[in-house]
Symmetry: C2
Subunit: 357 residues, 2 copies
């Protein structure tokens, strides 16, 4: 074949591609933040909009999202306040972690069609991006949605939170709130692997049984039915070395009242306070920090980015050895996003909450 | 002289000593804790009692106290709650730091008559002790009462609090509450010596002028007349690296709202809350710890005991070089203890509050 023919053929191929793209206009459904909620988000908070997906420009990839991560932190991103990350803008797609499959590539050597990728794809069916900050998942053994849970942000948060911030060591007494949740369930299991005595706090009998019997925590406190103070007296008579807090409010106060000398409190979240319409409840017992020379430290998982891979490998190894379990509550349909999102706060889920597309 | 005579003489000498002691019965006036106060202590909290000082037994010394230290922490020691130190028992002499002079010694090689000693002598005129935990003061250049202030507990607290706990470094922005007080005034001056920008918080125009003009703080906020939030915005537009808190309450919240990344809050006390009848006000803005990856840590100066001497030498050197100033509010008479003690809380004093006997 002569060179002229080759050039001609390439040109023709490209034209056909364009024609195909033009004929098959793809539609994206995306969840737009339209109102900043006060308190619990209601139906007027988001709006599901449709758009035609434009043609990919040079360097772009198109991801068809498979799973969307629903996290308590998302509630915080909706407030127009200074935080560790800018708020989601009004009119923008709701920010969320995603895993999906690359289905189109226009001159981007980092990705190929069929790649599974995780990233901040947002609450939408398709994400058009230059691929920056997206990570290819090569692991074909783990279920892909685990990259939103134990092998994703919640896993990283639990790992660095309890090891690097909580500085756990063999024999420590560790208290974990939201123990049946995405992060808490992993925090407790990792602390067990590291030789700690682990007490969880969860809401309701069913969750508590799960935490103790399936996840293997030493003890569990049902905050809906037990008195936390007397339960702590019973389960940690000599006090707590580490409290990993996802909840804030009353539980943080109860933990403060039971600190051991040089205890560490890791402030990872405060789900009990996220939908507060009034001022957040500060921990009345904070002077226990003084009495016990204890530390209360805030953490944001993004700070550990450069070490994610090590943690991921370690967590995968623990899964392979049967030392770690995870649980996902998966619900389907972007149309149901609002209702599913609220499960983060009303307790109607276990482990990692995921929206399947 | 034969041995027999020697024995006889020694015996006679001891008898004469006893007779002298018996003839001159010494009276001690001591302030007894008789009721645990709720809120601000009132007249019924203490009772001034008299007792005959008994004869010294083997190994004992008798100290005539010269100055008694009055500290906000004393309020905490009166509550029957778990703390870093056991509460003062009902019926016991009120605990307090003291400096005084050894006036009698019975077979104790560690002390001799005329020694100046500091220790926990309590609110009383004389202290009978085996001398354990008492320290001889050999320094004849500093006023002795400074060993209750800049060269005593407040000095140690300020030194280790801002250096070891606050981890200040050159260029840090440091905020200090109770800046005209015994500890706060030293914290700010030490931070200045270490190259920090220092902002103080004090109550009233007079104290504020003192903090800025005499102690050399960069800026001062008058919490009685200024809006703390807007003053902080003005004086530390880029936020605070270290907040040294002696106050708690509203000021702790304001500081939390202005933290820089990786800021440190040293919890040394909470004078605004010590006389609270209801629950202590917890810091509503504590989630700023998370946003800013900041640390809030409690400190108790006793933990640094083994390093006191180094700090003392350093502080003395700073005094000698004119880099450090101290101020003492000295009031006289154990009969006036109650009224003088309340000056800790009503703001009617400056620097270290001392009771002179």
């Amino acid at each position: 074949m002569v060179k002229k023919d080759l050039v001609h053929l390439k040109k023709r191929e490209s034209q056909i591609g364009k024609e195909i793209n033009q004929r098959k206009v793809m539609i994206n459904k995306k969840m737009i933040l339209v109102n900043r909620p006060i308190g619990i988000p209601d139906e007027s908070t988001w709006n599901l909009e449709e758009e035609n997906i434009p043609e990919l420009t040079h360097g772009q990839i198109l991801i068809k999202q498979k799973y969307i991560s629903l996290d308590p932190a998302m509630r915080g991103w909706m407030n127009n306040t200074k935080s560790y990350i800018p708020p989601v803008e009004i009119g923008a797609v709701m920010r969320a972690g995603t895993v999906g499959e690359v289905i189109q590539v226009n001159n981007n050597n980092n990705f190929k069609i069929g790649d599974l990728v995780s990233g901040w794809g947002g609450v939408q069916e398709y994400t058009l991006t230059n691929g920056e900050k997206y990570k290819t998942i090569n692991d074909r053994n783990s279920p892909i949605y685990r990259y939103l849970g134990a092998l994703g942000m919640p896993g990283m948060t639990a790992y660095f939170g309890i090891i690097n911030e909580g500085k756990i060591k063999n024999g420590d007494v560790v208290l974990v709130s939201a123990a049946a949740g995405a992060v808490g369930s992993l925090v407790g299991q990792i602390a067990k692997i590291k030789g700690c005595k682990v007490i969880g706090i969860a809401g309701g009998k069913e969750k508590c049984l799960y935490v103790k019997n399936e996840l293997g925590f030493d003890e569990v406190i049902d905050y809906k039915n037990d008195n936390i103070y007397s339960a702590l007296k019973k389960y940690c008579p000599d006090g707590i070395d580490v409290y990993f807090d996802n909840v804030g409010g009353e539980m943080l106060d109860a933990a403060l009242a039971k600190l051991r000398m040089h205890a560490r409190i890791v402030i990872c979240g405060a789900i009990s306070q996220y939908n507060n319409k009034s001022k957040i409840k500060g921990p009345s017992n904070y002077l226990s920090l003084l009495v016990n020379r204890a530390t209360m430290k805030g953490m944001v998982v993004f700070d550990y980015q450069k070490d994610y891979l090590n943690a991921e490998n370690q967590i995968r190894e623990w899964f392979d050895k049967g030392l770690l379990k995870s649980n996902e509550s998966i619900f389907e349909g972007i149309e149901n996003f609002h209702e599913i999102f609220l499960k983060l706060f009303n307790g109607n889920k276990r482990g990692k909450l995921i929206l399947k597309l």
